[in-house]
């Protein structure tokens, strides 16, 4: 799990993030490769949960490309991680807008196929499917907060910074999205 406040930390196997960013700003693409290696897993995870698997590789690449091009415009290198996750969230938002119609069609199809209780050995897969559909059931704003907090492990303050919203809004969205997810799971026959 990656902390946003690690910008100045020196990694055991490499240079500090601040040094890497400075080198990137001088055009050193190999330093950017190290940044990619450090962050690709979490960025990929966020994109996967927000957008699904179909365009995951392309979206991940787009996030890092946009980060590379936008590095000179970054205001505060100490908050690199928040800035990067913000890019990921923006790209996910654009993708979700474009794929909204397709997604709704897929949702209706998957709801039609979910009619019987699966066998015990398939229960985990069934629950995974329910979680995916439950997250898709939420609005993008609420789902983003739930994913970033409960699945990606970011704090409410960090999410507030990434999404550029007040911390109180993060808290209320988190509470509402958990309640909505619980209701969805309840409708699907899951008792918590």
């Amino acid at each position: 799990m990656v902390s946003i406040d690690r910008a100045k930390k020196r990694q055991p196997s490499g240079e500090s993030e601040h040094d890497l960013i400075c080198q990137c700003l001088r055009g050193d693409s190999e330093s950017f490769r190290q940044i990619y290696q450090r962050y690709q897993r979490q960025v990929r995870s966020i994109l996967f949960r927000l957008c699904g698997e179909s365009q995951l590789d392309d979206l991940t690449q787009e996030v890092f490309l946009r980060a590379w091009k936008g590095l000179p415009k970054m205001q505060n290198p100490e908050r690199f991680a928040a800035w990067l996750y913000r890019i990921a969230w923006n790209i996910a938002t654009d993708y979700r807008r474009g794929a909204a119609q397709t997604r709704s069609r897929l949702e209706s199809l998957s709801q039609q196929t979910q009619t019987q209780t699966p066998a015990p050995d398939l229960m985990h897969l069934h629950y995974q499917d329910l979680v995916q559909r439950g997250l898709a059931h939420l609005s993008f704003d609420h789902g983003s907060v739930l994913i970033l907090h409960d699945l990606e492990g970011l704090s409410q303050n960090q999410i507030a910074e990434i999404l550029a919203i007040p911390a109180g809004t993060v808290k209320s969205r988190l509470s509402r999205s958990r309640l909505a997810l619980k209701q969805f799971l309840h409708q699907q026959g899951v008792q918590l």
């Binding site: 990619y36 991940t60 490309l65 000179p72 918590l192």
Partner: protein, 133 residues
């Protein structure tokens, strides 16, 4: 660590009901597929084709504290303003005499004074005395 303490504070705010939802979510949330190794090289190839947009000098300025950036702008301005003022001040202020000039001036005064004292023409004295009659 700040991160851990923030997260524990966040978690302590959730109700037991919410905690059960979160636990279910984390337990059954599918993991993203592992990135194929080719993706990194593809991304780096794309990066090499797309250079950054702004010049390096401007980029680097964001990495230094405000006072250092202020100093970087203030120093050239101070030099640009200070140099003309310095030369102007030197030009307007009286310059000290050189040794040669001093000797010339002294000789000039002595010559004039001697001419005046040895001259037989005293009319200039009477001219002056008439003025005060």
């Amino acid at each position: 660590m700040k991160y851990s303490s923030e997260r524990s504070d966040d978690q302590s705010e959730s109700t037991p009901e919410e905690a059960r939802v979160v636990e279910f979510l984390q337990l059954h949330s599918p993991s993203p597929p592992i990135a194929p190794p080719r993706l990194e090289n593809q991304m780096m190839a794309a990066v090499s084709e797309q250079p950054q947009q702004l010049p390096v000098t401007r980029i680097q300025s964001t990495l230094y504290p405000l006072w250092q950036r202020w100093l970087a702008y203030a120093m050239p301005v101070a030099v640009m303003v200070g140099l003309p003022l310095f030369w102007l001040g030197r030009a307007l202020s009286p310059q000290p005499l050189t040794a040669t000039e001093y000797v010339q001036l002294e000789a000039f005064l002595e010559t004039n004074w001697e001419d005046l004292s040895t001259s037989r023409d005293r009319s200039w004295i009477s001219d002056l005395s008439h003025q005060y009659d």
